[in-house]
Symmetry: C2
Subunit: 336 residues, 2 copies
């Protein structure tokens, strides 16, 4: 596969899964201390992968869950955020400006922070009551795995996720499945990127636990790393404005999930099949998860799409646009 090292990937998977003990210990400590609600606070791609979890949690826990932009919450506060809250943060670099400021602000106010930190010794680590090392070099799926273990262990401790032990054990086999998904998708990614890399405008659609994926790929990859123009919209909201822009020649990318909201994705698909000749459907159902129970598939669906998109499709866009994924005009290039 293009720019992909299988051994590195499986090593990253191992390094991630090895943090299970640390994560469960953190979850147990948080459970012992008690908490009234959960706040996800981060920015960009890091908050985007927390949204699917927030969507999932709506359906399975009595604990209120909120998500806030790091740059905003420090200015406004939030009446539900208190010393009884648990704040979950993540930063791959561990020094994302807005997230760091929010972590400092949390500390000042006595809010307990648990964070996923991608860089050992990064500033976010020392600002967190609990820091979980995110050792994998890259791969958003590995961040999902850690967040899942943290969140579902917390829920298991409240008897809201009784199959946690089975879930966490089966999770070890997820990366191998994702590797196979990548292999299956790689030629498809090449075709998609070849056909669409030069489009002047692209609509990306997905819903619920897949919305963060659509948001992340269109903004943090296509816009930030490829300077490709996108509009992302949830499947439900697609029908309240954006649909009017669909016509022959307009590319629509639909990311279908496996939860209850899939019904709305189906409606988007039916509509777009009729009105554009450039519909691309990324359906996680097309990819097997061997050794993993079907009951967990809707939860794991975002890990499949992220493996396909953020890794494979991004690489093939890079190949066809000739635009290195690491090149930025502005972001982290200087102060602004």
């Amino acid at each position: 596969m293009l720019k992909f090292n299988k051994e590195t990937y499986l090593k990253n998977a191992k390094l991630t899964y090895e943090t299970r003990d640390i994560i469960e210990k953190v979850a147990d400590e948080i459970s012992d201390e008690g908490y009234k609600n959960i706040f996800f606070i981060s920015v960009g791609g890091s908050i985007a992968i927390m949204w699917p979890i927030q969507e999932i949690l709506k359906q399975i826990t009595d604990i209120p869950v909120y998500s806030e932009q790091a740059a905003e919450v420090v200015l406004t506060g939030h009446k539900q955020l208190s010393k009884d809250s648990i704040v979950i943060m993540a930063s791959k670099s561990g020094d994302t400006k807005e997230t760091l400021e929010a972590a400092k602000w949390c500390n000042k106010n006595g809010y307990r922070v648990v964070s996923l930190v991608g860089t050992p010794g990064a500033p976010l680590e020392s600002l967190s009551k609990w820091a979980i090392p995110n050792k994998a070099l890259n791969g958003v799926e590995f961040e999902y795995m850690q967040l899942f273990m943290l969140i579902f262990k917390l829920l298991a401790n409240r008897n809201e996720f009784p199959n946690y032990e089975k879930f966490a054990t089966q999770l070890e086999g997820l990366p191998k499945n994702l590797l196979e998904a990548k292999q299956k998708f790689d030629p498809i990614a090449d075709e998609i990127a070849e056909k669409y890399h030069d489009e002047p405008y692209n609509i990306w659609v997905g819903d619920g636990e897949m919305w963060g994926e659509v948001y992340l790929f269109s903004m943090c990859i296509l816009e930030e790393m490829q300077w490709v123009r996108t509009k992302s919209v949830s499947s439900s909201e697609f029908f309240h404005g954006t649909l009017e822009l669909v016509e022959k020649g307009v590319p629509v990318f639909l990311v279908k999930g496996e939860g209850y909201r899939r019904k709305i994705d189906d409606r988007v698909e039916r509509f777009c099949r009729q009105y554009t000749d450039k519909l691309v459907v990324i359906d996680t159902k097309d990819y097997e998860l061997k050794g993993i129970d079907d009951e967990f598939r809707w939860i794991l669906a975002p890990t499949i799409s992220t493996a396909l998109l953020v890794d494979r499709l991004a690489r093939h866009y890079e190949k066809h646009t000739g635009h290195d994924l690491d090149i930025r005009r502005y972001y982290r290039q200087f102060d602004y």
Copy 2:
């Protein structure tokens, strides 16, 4: 002013303000019955104007506030939504498919619905425990006024909005101010529309209590009614992807509010002034609210922007594109 009737506008204002007694009675009844949390449930433009209120409420009430897409919540449910919740809905037509289904679903589950219904006798009315007539023919600002009276009277009853009486009394003078704002903005709207109506791609930015405004205008007006391609992004998230698309020749429309997050809008403005020659700033601070205390301005800012954008700027786009605002390809044209 283009396609604007001053007398009709002031009559709509009067019809709206006359519902104050009804609204306060509803708020008092809800307060007497008691409630554990508030759910905003709607779609499209109707949910978009609830988001600013949700953002405002984060800062001033201990009551948890959630917002859900009508089409989604009926499929997934929500663990915080119960008979102890108050569900707030709105529909101008009173027969929006997704909202109606959600109202039916709420009824079936025993959730109490209070709704703003724009059409007397519309199906949503009979599905609501409390229906507030939204008598104004048009004008999103009038819907805001009704929602503000409902919400802040609820808060006043909890001693969380002690200046409610002054707020509601001063609200009567809002439409006259908005009328003057429209008059001041009308030639500016003409200039903006003339210059930008044919742009192939437009970035719209705003944050917090202005985000719903940015979302609504770009999706429900420019996309739905003008078939103009947009990307809308919050001011905080602008810096995590979309900024890379800014360069000379790319139009960026920034809607600045007056709350704490204005600091982030300022950052967007500083950035864009440097990197595009097509920055348009819509700043509610440029418009007076005579007879209204400054402490209420950050709350009322979305009513100013909506008066400028949804009414004035939309009309001038229509003039320059020659595309009637009422023409749709698909929406409500047939089943899909």
